[in-house]
Protein backbone atom coordinates (compact mmCIF):
# COMPACT_ATOMS: atom_id res chain seq x y z
CA UNK A 1 0.00 0.00 0.00
CA UNK A 2 1.34 3.32 -0.87
CA UNK A 3 1.11 6.15 1.53
CA UNK A 4 -0.10 9.66 0.78
CA UNK A 5 2.47 12.09 -0.35
CA UNK A 6 4.23 13.86 2.45
CA UNK A 7 3.66 11.15 4.98
CA UNK A 8 6.14 8.72 6.32
CA UNK A 9 5.95 4.95 6.10
CA UNK A 10 5.82 3.70 9.63
CA UNK A 11 5.43 -0.07 9.01
CA UNK A 12 5.77 -2.20 5.94
CA UNK A 13 2.83 -4.15 4.64
CA UNK A 14 4.41 -7.41 5.75
CA UNK A 15 5.03 -6.05 9.19
CA UNK A 16 1.47 -4.85 9.48
CA UNK A 17 -0.02 -8.12 8.37
CA UNK A 18 2.29 -9.92 10.75
CA UNK A 19 1.29 -7.61 13.56
CA UNK A 20 -2.39 -8.04 13.06
CA UNK A 21 -2.11 -11.83 12.83
CA UNK A 22 -0.23 -11.67 16.08
CA UNK A 23 -2.74 -9.31 17.59
CA UNK A 24 -5.69 -11.35 16.39
CA UNK A 25 -4.23 -14.53 17.80
CA UNK A 26 -3.53 -12.78 21.04
CA UNK A 27 -7.07 -11.55 21.41
CA UNK A 28 -8.46 -14.97 20.66
CA UNK A 29 -6.06 -16.51 23.12
CA UNK A 30 -7.03 -14.04 25.80
CA UNK A 31 -10.68 -14.73 25.28
CA UNK A 32 -10.33 -18.50 25.15
CA UNK A 33 -7.76 -18.56 27.91
CA UNK A 34 -9.78 -16.45 30.26
CA UNK A 35 -12.77 -18.69 29.59
CA UNK A 36 -11.03 -21.57 31.30
CA UNK A 37 -9.10 -19.43 33.73
CA UNK A 38 -11.96 -18.17 35.77
CA UNK A 39 -15.48 -19.57 36.05
CA UNK A 40 -16.88 -16.04 35.83
CA UNK A 41 -15.53 -15.82 32.32
CA UNK A 42 -16.46 -19.31 31.15
CA UNK A 43 -19.19 -17.77 29.05
CA UNK A 44 -16.45 -16.56 26.71
CA UNK A 45 -16.13 -20.16 25.57
CA UNK A 46 -19.42 -19.66 23.76
CA UNK A 47 -17.53 -17.45 21.32
CA UNK A 48 -15.59 -20.49 20.23
CA UNK A 49 -18.43 -22.94 20.05
CA UNK A 50 -18.38 -24.20 23.61
CA UNK A 51 -15.92 -25.50 26.16
CA UNK A 52 -14.67 -28.49 24.19
CA UNK A 53 -13.99 -26.36 21.11
CA UNK A 54 -12.35 -23.65 23.21
CA UNK A 55 -10.10 -26.22 24.83
CA UNK A 56 -9.24 -27.74 21.47
CA UNK A 57 -8.57 -24.53 19.56
CA UNK A 58 -6.66 -22.52 22.16
CA UNK A 59 -3.32 -24.34 21.80
CA UNK A 60 -3.47 -24.22 18.03
CA UNK A 61 -3.98 -20.46 18.09
CA UNK A 62 -1.07 -20.31 20.50
CA UNK A 63 1.07 -22.16 18.01
CA UNK A 64 0.15 -19.65 15.30
CA UNK A 65 0.92 -16.84 17.73
CA UNK A 66 4.36 -18.20 18.42
CA UNK A 67 5.22 -18.44 14.73
CA UNK A 68 3.70 -15.07 14.03
CA UNK A 69 5.56 -13.41 16.84
CA UNK A 70 8.78 -14.99 15.64
CA UNK A 71 8.16 -13.04 12.46
CA UNK A 72 7.68 -9.89 14.49
CA UNK A 73 10.96 -10.48 16.19
CA UNK A 74 12.73 -10.91 12.87
CA UNK A 75 11.28 -7.68 11.56
CA UNK A 76 11.56 -5.50 14.58
CA UNK A 77 14.44 -6.68 16.72
CA UNK A 78 16.94 -4.26 15.17
CA UNK A 79 14.94 -1.21 16.17
CA UNK A 80 14.31 -2.51 19.68
CA UNK A 81 17.85 -2.43 20.99
CA UNK A 82 17.98 -0.99 24.47
CA UNK A 83 20.25 1.98 25.08
CA UNK A 84 20.99 4.71 27.55
CA UNK A 85 18.39 7.01 26.10
CA UNK A 86 15.74 4.46 26.91
CA UNK A 87 16.74 4.61 30.53
CA UNK A 88 16.38 8.34 30.48
CA UNK A 89 13.00 7.96 28.79
CA UNK A 90 11.92 5.59 31.49
CA UNK A 91 13.06 7.98 34.12
CA UNK A 92 10.99 10.66 32.51
CA UNK A 93 7.88 8.48 32.31
CA UNK A 94 5.99 11.04 34.33
CA UNK A 95 6.45 13.60 31.61
CA UNK A 96 5.54 11.07 28.96
CA UNK A 97 2.31 10.27 30.76
CA UNK A 98 1.61 13.97 31.06
CA UNK A 99 1.84 14.28 27.26
CA UNK A 100 4.91 16.46 27.69
CA UNK A 101 7.59 15.01 25.45
CA UNK A 102 9.71 18.07 25.03
CA UNK A 103 11.83 17.55 28.10
CA UNK A 104 12.82 13.97 27.36
CA UNK A 105 15.58 12.65 25.12
CA UNK A 106 14.63 12.32 21.48
CA UNK A 107 13.19 8.91 20.64
CA UNK A 108 14.20 6.65 17.76
CA UNK A 109 11.83 4.42 15.88
CA UNK A 110 10.57 2.90 19.14
CA UNK A 111 10.48 4.37 22.56
CA UNK A 112 11.38 2.46 25.71
CA UNK A 113 7.75 1.64 26.41
CA UNK A 114 7.36 0.05 23.00
CA UNK A 115 10.61 -1.79 23.47
CA UNK A 116 9.35 -3.05 26.80
CA UNK A 117 6.21 -4.38 25.17
CA UNK A 118 8.28 -5.99 22.44
CA UNK A 119 10.71 -7.74 24.76
CA UNK A 120 8.08 -8.64 27.33
CA UNK A 121 6.11 -10.44 24.67
CA UNK A 122 9.26 -11.96 23.26
CA UNK A 123 9.76 -13.53 26.67
CA UNK A 124 6.17 -14.30 27.60
CA UNK A 125 4.97 -15.82 24.35
CA UNK A 126 7.60 -18.58 24.24
CA UNK A 127 7.04 -19.14 27.96
CA UNK A 128 3.33 -19.51 27.31
CA UNK A 129 4.00 -21.75 24.38
CA UNK A 130 6.30 -24.14 26.14
CA UNK A 131 4.25 -24.39 29.31
CA UNK A 132 1.24 -24.73 27.06
CA UNK A 133 2.82 -27.71 25.36
CA UNK A 134 3.24 -29.38 28.74
CA UNK A 135 -0.46 -29.03 29.50
CA UNK A 136 -1.66 -29.76 25.97
CA UNK A 137 -3.50 -32.84 27.19
CA UNK A 138 -4.33 -34.40 23.87
CA UNK A 139 -0.83 -34.77 22.53
CA UNK A 140 1.72 -34.22 25.22
CA UNK A 141 0.34 -35.29 28.59
CA UNK A 142 2.22 -38.58 28.47
CA UNK A 143 5.61 -36.95 28.32
CA UNK A 144 5.62 -35.13 31.63
CA UNK A 145 4.75 -35.86 35.20
CA UNK A 146 1.64 -34.48 36.76
CA UNK A 147 3.75 -32.35 39.07
CA UNK A 148 5.52 -30.83 36.05
CA UNK A 149 2.14 -30.15 34.54
CA UNK A 150 1.03 -28.42 37.70
CA UNK A 151 4.09 -26.16 37.61
CA UNK A 152 3.49 -25.51 33.92
CA UNK A 153 -0.13 -24.65 34.56
CA UNK A 154 0.82 -22.14 37.20
CA UNK A 155 3.54 -20.55 35.05
CA UNK A 156 1.23 -20.51 32.05
CA UNK A 157 -1.48 -18.65 33.85
CA UNK A 158 0.89 -16.20 35.49
CA UNK A 159 2.58 -15.50 32.18
CA UNK A 160 -0.79 -15.07 30.54
CA UNK A 161 -1.87 -12.51 33.11
CA UNK A 162 1.38 -10.64 32.64
CA UNK A 163 0.96 -10.71 28.88
CA UNK A 164 -2.58 -9.42 29.14
CA UNK A 165 -1.44 -6.53 31.29
CA UNK A 166 1.33 -5.70 28.83
CA UNK A 167 -1.16 -5.97 26.03
CA UNK A 168 -3.60 -3.57 27.68
CA UNK A 169 -0.80 -1.04 28.07
CA UNK A 170 0.13 -1.56 24.44
CA UNK A 171 -3.38 -1.10 23.18
CA UNK A 172 -4.06 1.90 25.37
CA UNK A 173 -0.81 3.53 24.33
CA UNK A 174 -1.76 3.12 20.71
CA UNK A 175 -5.11 4.76 21.31
CA UNK A 176 -3.71 7.41 23.57
CA UNK A 177 -1.00 8.53 21.19
CA UNK A 178 -3.11 9.69 18.30
CA UNK A 179 -1.94 8.68 14.89
CA UNK A 180 -0.26 5.54 16.10
CA UNK A 181 -3.06 3.22 15.10
CA UNK A 182 -2.90 4.43 11.52
CA UNK A 183 0.78 3.67 11.57
CA UNK A 184 -0.13 0.05 12.04
CA UNK A 185 -3.30 -0.04 9.99
CA UNK A 186 -2.53 2.01 6.92
CA UNK A 187 1.14 2.03 7.70
CA UNK A 188 1.98 5.72 7.56
CA UNK A 189 2.32 8.59 9.96
CA UNK A 190 2.63 12.28 9.43
CA UNK A 191 6.02 13.91 9.83
CA UNK A 192 4.51 15.89 12.69
CA UNK A 193 3.67 12.67 14.48
CA UNK A 194 7.21 11.51 14.01
CA UNK A 195 8.56 14.89 15.15
CA UNK A 196 6.46 14.74 18.27
CA UNK A 197 7.01 11.13 19.29
CA UNK A 198 10.02 9.73 17.45
CA UNK A 199 12.14 12.73 16.63
CA UNK A 200 15.41 10.84 16.39
CA UNK A 201 13.77 8.46 13.93
CA UNK A 202 12.52 11.41 11.88
CA UNK A 203 15.93 12.99 11.84
CA UNK A 204 17.45 9.76 10.60
CA UNK A 205 14.83 9.45 7.86
CA UNK A 206 15.34 13.03 6.87
CA UNK A 207 19.07 12.63 6.75
CA UNK A 208 18.89 9.54 4.55
CA UNK A 209 16.01 10.81 2.50
CA UNK A 210 14.06 7.72 3.40
CA UNK A 211 10.29 7.69 3.62
CA UNK A 212 10.37 4.99 6.22
CA UNK A 213 11.41 1.42 6.70
CA UNK A 214 10.81 -1.31 4.20
CA UNK A 215 12.51 -3.30 1.49
CA UNK A 216 11.03 -1.29 -1.31
CA UNK A 217 11.54 2.10 0.26
CA UNK A 218 14.50 3.24 -1.80
CA UNK A 219 13.16 1.92 -5.08
CA UNK A 220 9.90 3.73 -4.62
CA UNK A 221 11.71 6.96 -3.97
CA UNK A 222 13.67 6.61 -7.17
CA UNK A 223 10.49 6.22 -9.16
CA UNK A 224 9.08 9.39 -7.79
Amino acid sequence: MTHPKGTLRRNTTAARINHWITGGCFVLLVLSGLAVFDPMLFWLSALFGGGQATRAIHPWIGTVLLISYAGMIVQFWRDNGWNRKDVAWMRAIGSVLANDEECIPEVGRFNAGQKFVFWAMALLIPALFFTGIVIWEVYFSAYTTIEQQRVATLIHSMAAVAAIIVWIIHVYAALWVRGSVRGMTQGYVTPGWAWRHHRAWLRRLAETGSEGPGPHASGRRQRQ
Partner: protein, 303 residues
Protein backbone atom coordinates in the same frame (compact mmCIF):
# COMPACT_ATOMS: atom_id res chain seq x y z
CA UNK B 1 -22.83 -40.53 34.72
CA UNK B 2 -24.98 -38.40 36.87
CA UNK B 3 -28.34 -38.33 38.39
CA UNK B 4 -28.72 -34.79 39.50
CA UNK B 5 -32.45 -35.12 39.77
CA UNK B 6 -32.38 -37.59 42.59
CA UNK B 7 -29.32 -36.50 44.51
CA UNK B 8 -28.54 -33.14 45.99
CA UNK B 9 -25.19 -31.76 45.23
CA UNK B 10 -23.22 -29.56 47.50
CA UNK B 11 -20.43 -28.52 45.21
CA UNK B 12 -20.34 -27.80 41.50
CA UNK B 13 -17.19 -27.07 39.59
CA UNK B 14 -16.55 -23.57 38.29
CA UNK B 15 -19.77 -22.30 39.77
CA UNK B 16 -20.60 -19.78 42.41
CA UNK B 17 -24.27 -20.46 42.71
CA UNK B 18 -25.73 -22.14 45.74
CA UNK B 19 -26.67 -25.69 44.77
CA UNK B 20 -30.12 -27.01 45.52
CA UNK B 21 -30.18 -28.48 48.96
CA UNK B 22 -33.71 -29.28 49.96
CA UNK B 23 -33.15 -32.96 50.57
CA UNK B 24 -31.23 -32.67 53.78
CA UNK B 25 -31.60 -36.21 55.02
CA UNK B 26 -28.87 -37.69 52.85
CA UNK B 27 -26.19 -39.31 54.96
CA UNK B 28 -22.58 -39.28 53.88
CA UNK B 29 -21.66 -42.59 52.34
CA UNK B 30 -18.36 -44.40 52.14
CA UNK B 31 -16.87 -47.41 50.47
CA UNK B 32 -14.58 -49.29 52.79
CA UNK B 33 -11.90 -51.41 51.14
CA UNK B 34 -10.48 -53.89 53.61
CA UNK B 35 -7.12 -54.64 52.04
CA UNK B 36 -6.53 -57.43 54.54
CA UNK B 37 -9.53 -59.34 53.14
CA UNK B 38 -8.85 -58.66 49.51
CA UNK B 39 -7.62 -61.56 47.41
CA UNK B 40 -7.01 -59.53 44.28
CA UNK B 41 -9.47 -61.50 42.19
CA UNK B 42 -10.43 -58.45 40.09
CA UNK B 43 -14.14 -59.22 40.33
CA UNK B 44 -14.52 -55.53 41.18
CA UNK B 45 -12.72 -54.59 37.99
CA UNK B 46 -14.89 -56.88 35.92
CA UNK B 47 -18.07 -55.66 37.61
CA UNK B 48 -17.04 -52.07 37.02
CA UNK B 49 -16.55 -52.77 33.33
CA UNK B 50 -19.85 -54.63 33.16
CA UNK B 51 -21.97 -52.07 34.95
CA UNK B 52 -20.44 -49.04 33.29
CA UNK B 53 -20.19 -50.82 29.95
CA UNK B 54 -16.47 -50.23 29.59
CA UNK B 55 -14.33 -52.32 27.27
CA UNK B 56 -10.70 -51.37 26.82
CA UNK B 57 -8.20 -52.98 24.55
CA UNK B 58 -6.76 -56.42 25.23
CA UNK B 59 -3.31 -55.39 26.35
CA UNK B 60 0.00 -57.08 26.96
CA UNK B 61 1.60 -58.76 29.90
CA UNK B 62 3.99 -56.29 31.42
CA UNK B 63 5.57 -58.01 34.37
CA UNK B 64 2.83 -57.97 36.97
CA UNK B 65 -0.77 -58.92 37.62
CA UNK B 66 -1.79 -55.28 37.16
CA UNK B 67 -3.95 -55.48 34.07
CA UNK B 68 -4.49 -53.13 32.37
CA UNK B 69 -1.19 -51.70 33.53
CA UNK B 70 -2.76 -48.42 34.61
CA UNK B 71 -6.08 -46.69 35.02
CA UNK B 72 -7.43 -45.41 31.73
CA UNK B 73 -10.69 -44.00 30.41
CA UNK B 74 -12.04 -47.55 30.24
CA UNK B 75 -10.55 -48.68 33.53
CA UNK B 76 -12.02 -46.85 36.46
CA UNK B 77 -10.74 -49.22 39.06
CA UNK B 78 -7.60 -51.34 39.04
CA UNK B 79 -6.03 -53.89 41.33
CA UNK B 80 -2.45 -52.96 42.09
CA UNK B 81 -0.16 -55.70 43.39
CA UNK B 82 2.94 -55.06 45.46
CA UNK B 83 5.34 -57.73 46.65
CA UNK B 84 6.92 -56.53 49.86
CA UNK B 85 9.30 -58.21 52.23
CA UNK B 86 8.64 -57.08 55.74
CA UNK B 87 11.17 -56.52 58.50
CA UNK B 88 10.99 -60.18 59.53
CA UNK B 89 11.90 -61.20 56.00
CA UNK B 90 8.39 -62.53 55.36
CA UNK B 91 6.77 -61.80 52.09
CA UNK B 92 3.56 -59.84 52.01
CA UNK B 93 1.56 -59.45 48.83
CA UNK B 94 -0.18 -56.14 49.26
CA UNK B 95 -3.12 -55.87 46.90
CA UNK B 96 -4.91 -52.58 46.65
CA UNK B 97 -7.93 -51.65 44.62
CA UNK B 98 -7.09 -48.30 43.13
CA UNK B 99 -9.66 -45.79 41.98
CA UNK B 100 -11.26 -42.49 42.88
CA UNK B 101 -11.13 -41.76 46.60
CA UNK B 102 -14.08 -39.35 46.50
CA UNK B 103 -12.35 -36.73 48.64
CA UNK B 104 -14.36 -34.55 50.95
CA UNK B 105 -12.32 -31.69 49.51
CA UNK B 106 -11.94 -32.79 45.89
CA UNK B 107 -8.92 -31.37 44.10
CA UNK B 108 -10.38 -32.25 40.72
CA UNK B 109 -13.45 -30.19 41.38
CA UNK B 110 -11.35 -27.32 42.61
CA UNK B 111 -9.24 -27.35 39.47
CA UNK B 112 -12.06 -27.84 36.99
CA UNK B 113 -12.81 -24.80 34.83
CA UNK B 114 -15.99 -26.11 33.26
CA UNK B 115 -19.15 -25.24 35.19
CA UNK B 116 -20.88 -28.37 36.37
CA UNK B 117 -18.40 -30.82 34.87
CA UNK B 118 -17.61 -32.09 38.36
CA UNK B 119 -20.08 -32.18 41.19
CA UNK B 120 -20.08 -33.45 44.72
CA UNK B 121 -23.35 -34.85 45.97
CA UNK B 122 -24.60 -34.36 49.46
CA UNK B 123 -23.70 -37.97 50.20
CA UNK B 124 -20.09 -37.17 49.40
CA UNK B 125 -19.77 -38.82 45.99
CA UNK B 126 -17.68 -36.83 43.55
CA UNK B 127 -18.99 -37.29 40.05
CA UNK B 128 -17.87 -36.25 36.59
CA UNK B 129 -20.72 -34.95 34.45
CA UNK B 130 -19.45 -35.89 31.03
CA UNK B 131 -21.69 -33.55 29.05
CA UNK B 132 -20.11 -30.54 30.72
CA UNK B 133 -16.54 -31.77 30.55
CA UNK B 134 -14.28 -29.91 28.14
CA UNK B 135 -11.34 -32.29 28.30
CA UNK B 136 -8.78 -29.81 29.58
CA UNK B 137 -7.23 -32.27 32.03
CA UNK B 138 -7.15 -29.80 34.91
CA UNK B 139 -8.83 -32.42 37.12
CA UNK B 140 -5.77 -34.61 36.65
CA UNK B 141 -3.60 -31.83 37.98
CA UNK B 142 -5.95 -31.18 40.84
CA UNK B 143 -6.15 -34.80 41.97
CA UNK B 144 -3.72 -35.84 44.71
CA UNK B 145 -4.25 -39.52 43.86
CA UNK B 146 -3.58 -39.53 40.11
CA UNK B 147 -7.00 -40.87 39.21
CA UNK B 148 -8.81 -39.09 36.34
CA UNK B 149 -7.94 -40.01 32.77
CA UNK B 150 -8.95 -38.10 29.65
CA UNK B 151 -10.18 -40.13 26.73
CA UNK B 152 -8.43 -39.65 23.42
CA UNK B 153 -11.64 -40.58 21.72
CA UNK B 154 -14.13 -38.11 23.10
CA UNK B 155 -11.78 -35.86 25.09
CA UNK B 156 -13.64 -36.19 28.31
CA UNK B 157 -12.28 -37.11 31.69
CA UNK B 158 -13.37 -40.35 33.33
CA UNK B 159 -13.07 -41.95 36.72
CA UNK B 160 -15.02 -44.02 39.23
CA UNK B 161 -18.46 -42.57 39.89
CA UNK B 162 -18.92 -44.67 43.01
CA UNK B 163 -21.81 -45.92 40.91
CA UNK B 164 -23.73 -42.77 41.70
CA UNK B 165 -26.48 -44.07 39.42
CA UNK B 166 -26.84 -47.20 41.54
CA UNK B 167 -26.46 -45.43 44.85
CA UNK B 168 -29.17 -42.96 43.86
CA UNK B 169 -31.66 -45.81 43.73
CA UNK B 170 -30.48 -47.50 46.88
CA UNK B 171 -28.07 -50.05 45.44
CA UNK B 172 -24.47 -50.55 46.42
CA UNK B 173 -21.72 -49.84 43.87
CA UNK B 174 -21.13 -52.67 41.39
CA UNK B 175 -17.69 -53.49 42.79
CA UNK B 176 -19.15 -53.91 46.25
CA UNK B 177 -21.84 -56.17 44.90
CA UNK B 178 -19.29 -58.34 43.10
CA UNK B 179 -16.64 -58.65 45.78
CA UNK B 180 -16.62 -62.31 46.82
CA UNK B 181 -14.86 -61.90 50.14
CA UNK B 182 -16.68 -58.83 51.40
CA UNK B 183 -13.45 -56.87 51.22
CA UNK B 184 -15.38 -53.98 49.72
CA UNK B 185 -18.18 -52.70 51.90
CA UNK B 186 -20.55 -49.81 51.42
CA UNK B 187 -22.67 -47.83 53.84
CA UNK B 188 -22.74 -44.61 55.75
CA UNK B 189 -19.36 -43.19 56.48
CA UNK B 190 -20.05 -43.49 60.17
CA UNK B 191 -20.93 -47.18 59.90
CA UNK B 192 -17.93 -47.92 57.73
CA UNK B 193 -15.61 -46.16 60.12
CA UNK B 194 -17.01 -48.16 63.00
CA UNK B 195 -16.70 -51.45 61.12
CA UNK B 196 -13.15 -50.55 60.18
CA UNK B 197 -12.42 -50.24 63.87
CA UNK B 198 -13.44 -53.85 64.45
CA UNK B 199 -11.30 -55.01 61.58
CA UNK B 200 -8.33 -53.09 62.90
CA UNK B 201 -8.72 -54.71 66.30
CA UNK B 202 -8.69 -58.13 64.62
CA UNK B 203 -5.63 -57.25 62.55
CA UNK B 204 -3.79 -56.02 65.60
CA UNK B 205 -4.55 -59.31 67.33
CA UNK B 206 -2.92 -61.05 64.36
CA UNK B 207 0.30 -59.11 64.80
CA UNK B 208 -0.26 -56.11 62.54
CA UNK B 209 0.54 -53.49 65.15
CA UNK B 210 0.18 -50.58 62.77
CA UNK B 211 -3.13 -51.60 61.27
CA UNK B 212 -5.37 -48.64 60.75
CA UNK B 213 -7.88 -46.74 58.67
CA UNK B 214 -6.85 -44.63 55.70
CA UNK B 215 -9.11 -41.60 55.68
CA UNK B 216 -6.56 -38.87 54.96
CA UNK B 217 -7.32 -35.54 56.67
CA UNK B 218 -5.27 -33.62 54.10
CA UNK B 219 -8.20 -33.83 51.70
CA UNK B 220 -10.82 -33.52 54.41
CA UNK B 221 -11.21 -37.29 54.59
CA UNK B 222 -12.37 -39.52 51.76
CA UNK B 223 -15.52 -41.39 50.86
CA UNK B 224 -13.44 -44.36 49.84
CA UNK B 225 -11.42 -45.62 52.77
CA UNK B 226 -8.94 -48.41 53.22
CA UNK B 227 -8.25 -50.72 56.12
CA UNK B 228 -4.49 -51.18 55.88
CA UNK B 229 -2.28 -53.62 57.76
CA UNK B 230 0.44 -50.99 57.65
CA UNK B 231 -1.44 -47.75 58.03
CA UNK B 232 1.79 -46.09 59.12
CA UNK B 233 3.14 -46.56 55.59
CA UNK B 234 0.38 -46.22 53.01
CA UNK B 235 2.94 -45.76 50.25
CA UNK B 236 3.81 -49.46 50.54
CA UNK B 237 0.54 -50.13 48.78
CA UNK B 238 1.57 -49.27 45.22
CA UNK B 239 2.30 -45.69 46.11
CA UNK B 240 -0.86 -44.72 47.98
CA UNK B 241 0.04 -41.18 49.10
CA UNK B 242 1.20 -41.06 52.73
CA UNK B 243 -0.27 -37.60 53.31
CA UNK B 244 -2.30 -36.56 50.29
CA UNK B 245 -3.36 -32.95 49.85
CA UNK B 246 -4.25 -30.80 46.93
CA UNK B 247 -0.98 -29.53 45.43
CA UNK B 248 0.01 -26.05 46.70
CA UNK B 249 0.55 -25.14 43.06
CA UNK B 250 -3.09 -25.86 42.36
CA UNK B 251 -4.15 -24.11 45.54
CA UNK B 252 -2.15 -21.06 44.45
CA UNK B 253 -3.49 -21.17 40.94
CA UNK B 254 -7.10 -21.64 41.90
CA UNK B 255 -6.68 -19.71 45.13
CA UNK B 256 -5.10 -16.29 45.31
CA UNK B 257 -3.88 -16.08 41.73
CA UNK B 258 -7.31 -15.87 40.19
CA UNK B 259 -8.58 -12.78 42.01
CA UNK B 260 -5.14 -11.25 41.93
CA UNK B 261 -4.84 -11.71 38.21
CA UNK B 262 -8.26 -10.35 37.44
CA UNK B 263 -7.61 -7.43 39.75
CA UNK B 264 -4.30 -6.75 38.00
CA UNK B 265 -5.91 -6.83 34.60
CA UNK B 266 -8.77 -4.65 35.72
CA UNK B 267 -6.43 -2.22 37.43
CA UNK B 268 -4.37 -1.81 34.29
CA UNK B 269 -7.45 -1.22 32.20
CA UNK B 270 -8.86 1.25 34.72
CA UNK B 271 -5.57 3.06 35.06
CA UNK B 272 -5.48 3.46 31.30
CA UNK B 273 -9.01 4.68 31.22
CA UNK B 274 -8.45 7.23 33.93
CA UNK B 275 -5.24 8.34 32.33
CA UNK B 276 -7.30 9.15 29.29
CA UNK B 277 -9.84 10.91 31.42
CA UNK B 278 -7.26 12.92 33.31
CA UNK B 279 -4.51 13.53 30.77
CA UNK B 280 -6.30 12.89 27.55
CA UNK B 281 -5.00 12.09 24.14
CA UNK B 282 -1.56 12.87 22.99
CA UNK B 283 -2.26 14.56 19.69
CA UNK B 284 0.05 15.92 17.03
CA UNK B 285 -0.03 19.71 17.00
CA UNK B 286 0.28 21.94 13.91
CA UNK B 287 3.59 23.16 15.31
CA UNK B 288 4.80 19.58 15.26
CA UNK B 289 3.99 19.29 11.60
CA UNK B 290 5.70 22.60 10.90
CA UNK B 291 8.79 21.62 12.79
CA UNK B 292 8.86 18.30 10.95
CA UNK B 293 8.56 19.99 7.56
CA UNK B 294 11.35 22.36 8.46
CA UNK B 295 13.57 19.53 9.57
CA UNK B 296 12.97 17.56 6.41
CA UNK B 297 13.53 20.57 4.24
CA UNK B 298 16.81 21.34 5.96
CA UNK B 299 17.94 17.79 5.66
CA UNK B 300 17.01 17.70 1.99
CA UNK B 301 18.98 20.78 1.38
CA UNK B 302 21.97 19.36 3.19
CA UNK B 303 21.89 16.29 0.96
Amino acid sequence: MSDLQSQDYIRRSASTLTPPSVRRHEAEVAKLIDVSRCIGCKACQAACMEWNDLRGEVGLFSGSYDNPSDLDPNTWTLMRFTEWENEQGHLEWLIRKDGCMHCEDPGCLKACPAPGAIVQYANGIVDFISENCIGCGYCIKGCPFDIPRVSQVDHKAYKCTLCSDRVAVGLEPACVKACPTGAIMFGTKAAMTQWAGERITDLKSRGFRNAGLYDPPGVGGTHVMYVLHHADRPSLYAGLPDAPRISPLIEAWKGFLKPLALAGIAATALASFFHWVVVGRNEVQPEDEAEAQRLMRDAGNRR
